[in-house]
Amino acid sequence: MGTWEGLVTGLNFALQPGVLIFCLLGVLLGTFVGVLPGIGAMAAISLLLPITYYISAEAALIMLAGVYYGAQYGGAVASILMRLPGTPQSAVTALDGYPMARDGRAGAALFAAMVSSFAGSIIGIVVLVLLAGWLSRVAVAFGAADYAAMMVLGLVAASTIGSARPAKGFAMIVLGMLLGCIGTDVNSGAMRFTFGQTELLDGVNLVALAMGLFGVAEVIGNVRDPERQAVTEKIGFRQMAPTRDDLRRMVFPSLRGSGLGSFFGALPGTGSTLSSFLSYAMERRIARRPERFGHGAIEGVAGPEAANNSAAITAFVPTLTLGIPGDPIMALMLGALVIHGVQPGPMMLEARPEMFWGLVASFGIGNLLLLILNLPLIGVWVALLRIPFRWLYPAILIFICLGVYSVRGLTYDIVAVAGIGLAGYLLALARFNPALLLLGFVLGPLIETNLRRALLISRGDPMVFLERPISAAFVVAIAGLLLLSLVQWVRRRRRAIPAR
């Protein structure tokens, strides 16, 4: 089936009322769980599983996929309004989205997030349609050495994010990586730093860490100021809408973010997180005035949001072309198909072309629905900020508890989020950036696992990182980036000396 013919077939399929309604249901629920931080796509998908038993396999996949990418839209809301990210990629959005909201520009920040999310998704869909075959070959060609080198590049590139002092950023990344060591060691099965607690065997709960460092810490930080409101006056459409300057600043970051997201999304693992951080780091590096970042730069919202949404679309590449799920959520979605007698695998799409094209068409329809759904909601969200903090914060804490509990159903994690929140408050007092801690926490264990796996496979020969072309390219990029930073540092010192 040709691309054009396929798209027409897909649209015909996805626009049937009996299918469209499940697409709508999926994106609605996706938005909903995205807005409630911590309650991720995984919880929503398990909620929808019983429904999937009664509808066709195609409609089920379209609905579950709607939750998956719909959650990416909603995730921005709580991060921008209340600095309450449930995922590391939303934490990136909070870096500049939340300062914008505190300046009374929450409307513009949300608008930027929604529109770049939409742009990112559309670009992701185009990439998926045109390059799926190529991307899937890249994904299979990526070995452990390549992943390790790529993630080190990600860490190096992102380490300059949001901190005036590089040493402080570095410290946060290292702390994150150390926290990432907690749990069962994949290679030896040894338990590291678990102190006999089985709850820690799979590591620290990521949702608890994100919400503790950001949400709980923010609540503690504002306790001194109970009467404060983020927005005191009624907000009209004018204050809500982005300015012409905002729009101009959004265009290129969105496009660059979409490019990063489309590529990294197709690689199983951490495409979404990595591309959000890389997009942010890139925008900051090429900005004419990088010091604006962290204080409400709209580029810092637009780029990463475009990146994580296009990544959420191209994340379907390995699933759709190879029948291999790229992440645990995708595996659950495929598991739902088995009940219908559809065996996930490379033959699934040859046997059922309407599944591939129907799903692709539903991505377009679903994202349009999300945009239509979310733009009018901006006014509602912004109005929330008129509630005084003393009323808002108890509610936020309850939502944090719900979100954290929803991951595993263990009260242990609620206690953990409280402790992490306190630590997060201390870090905030000392002006450390918790986003980098999250990045280190997510990438650290993956770097370790892939590094050790690569060395195991090469029977201990470190040259594997230079012999594999993909890995070698990343190593060169890392060296280049470090050299660039060194040159910039030397130049700054030279300039500084005569001034003394």
């Binding site: 919880a43 909620l47 990526f142 065997l201 645990p328 009940i339 490379p346 595993r408 159903g409």
Partner: protein, 326 residues
Amino acid sequence: MTTHIPRRAAFGCVLAFAAAPAFAQDAWPTGPLHVYVGFPAGSSPDTLARIITEPLAERLGQPVVIENRPGAGGVIGIQQMLANAGDDDLTFGTTINGPVTTAARMMGDTGFDVAADIAPVTLIATSPLVLAVSSQSGLEDLEGFVAAAGAEEEAIAYGSVGQGSGAHLTAELFADEAGVTMLHIPFTSYAEVTTSIMGGEIDAGFMAPSAAMPHVEGGNMRILGITSSEPSAQAPDVPVIAGQAGFAEDFRAELWNGFIAPSGTDAAVVERLTTEITEILADPGVQEQLLAIGWQAAPGTAQEMQERITADTQMWGGVIDRIEAQ
């Protein structure tokens, strides 16, 4: 993973089947049953539990609520079952073999003692593993594979879904029986193992048939043998390893899934459940549903499950001893 939201959804779903209280004259069950599953909603062990508990709810005239408590390879599910058990005999669990056979060896302390704390109800199903290689490789059959693996130490690198996982222990048992040593590369999911085999990074892997078969049909993988004693209905053309390439006739390594109760549970309740689940598993429709997700129905008595736990604990314990001695 679950919240009370999906729990409520499952509740509503099961209620529909629980309209007729067929056993209202009996005192038990006095309320909804809670079945703890140590894996997330939508995973294979979770789907298995749902396939069994749907007709169970109908038969008992009470809803059965699935409580997903994923973590530590299924150990957290059992811990939570034990922690939440009341004296009303309404709390149960399903578990794969790992948490009740090898977990104590691997983890040191699981927080429970299998012999003292857990009452087996019945086995539900078993799943063999298949030995998969890339279709690009020169490994054509089991004889050739063993010969290649024996050419030098660690000539073959294989992937598993983790240190101490069923796939890892099965591969080590296989290597020991064949008199070879292979290089173990731990991954975390069959998806990763599949990608790595297809990318040519590793040579082989012991995998669930349901994870490997689609890639055989797609032309990317080849399967050299299966660890069950009989050919599996899922992969009827795959030869059993037993009796081939120098393997003993009784070579068998299977994962299984069983229904368990806290050990204080009334013996009559356990017996009732054994009977009901055995009857449910006799239904060809249920067997077919299980087969679709990779499980072969294998009901039996509580005593038989107890024997299986003891035998497997001993067999895998021996394999772990040899791994640790290396």
